[in-house]
């Protein structure tokens, strides 16, 4: 039983991170904290995939010119999860950038980032022309 827990300890760590991220996305009121929860969730999944590709006694997936000429697949760790997670990281950066831009627009429009205070548009109409701009009331 103890050996079962210790041999899979990387999964327990990532499960804890997934639960933390998911709780932040669901239970927090501030939109920025929800975004941070989404980021934690994303990175836990990326690290989980990369941990699948490891092999006991394997080295990094770069063939060195000083090594022996025989290349066996058991000596190197699996490069495929690293490649796929590179794409996932870039997509995560893109998503984070766009979501931050949406948050800036929300703040300029409503004046707050708390979820309960953002009322639907038909109860909170835009100011008419000449009363202020879309980015909040300036001047």
């Amino acid at each position: 039983m103890l050996e079962y827990i210790i041999s899979k300890y990387n999964y327990w760590m990532y499960i804890v991170l997934i639960l933390i991220g998911f709780y932040a996305m669901m239970a927090k009121n501030n939109l920025m904290k929800k975004l941070i929860g989404m980021g934690i969730f994303q990175w836990a999944i990326i690290c989980y995939f990369m941990s699948i590709g490891s092999k006991k006694g394997g080295t990094i997936p770069i063939i060195s010119e000083h090594g022996s000429g025989i290349i066996r697949a058991i000596d190197f760790i699996n490069p495929l999860p690293h490649v796929l997670m590179l794409t996932a990281i870039v997509v995560g950066v893109a998503t984070t950038g766009i979501s931050l831009a949406i948050l800036i627009s929300i703040y300029g429009r409503y004046g707050t980032l708390e979820e309960d205070e953002i009322t639907p548009p038909h109860l909170n109409p835009l100011p008419r022309r000449g009363e202020g701009t879309l980015k909040g009331n300036r001047k």
């Binding site: 300890y9 499960i15 997934i18 063939i63 699996n78 495929l80 794409t87 870039v90 949406i102």
Partner: protein
């Protein structure tokens, strides 16, 4: 109050994840299914087919180059989207 249902969902989800961790391979197992099908071919043939010793680059840019092209277009789209979201007409001046 959003915290009580969130806690319940978290506990159920945690239980499901821990229960399904039984099926996962052990950490560092060389015979797991992820390392068995196409990955040994990439490891063994990368120098003789592409002359690039870095396996990650050769898989990313040569064997899976099509995915990388669309990933580049995704990040390009993100840049354009942020520009479209945040730049607005201001006092009659165009974007």
């Amino acid at each position: 109050m959003k915290k009580a249902p969130a806690f319940i969902v978290i506990i159920i989800m945690g239980f499901l994840l821990v229960y399904s961790a039984e099926e996962f391979p052990k950490w560092g197992d060389p015979n797991q299914p992820a390392s068995l099908h196409v990955s040994p071919r990439y490891i063994e043939k990368t120098v003789e087919e592409t002359a690039v010793p870095n396996m990650v680059t050769s898989v990313l840019a040569d064997y899976r180059g099509y995915d990388t092209m669309f990933e580049t277009s995704v990040i390009f789209t993100a840049g354009i989207t942020v520009m479209l979201l945040l730049r607005r007409k201001r006092n009659g001046k165009r974007v």
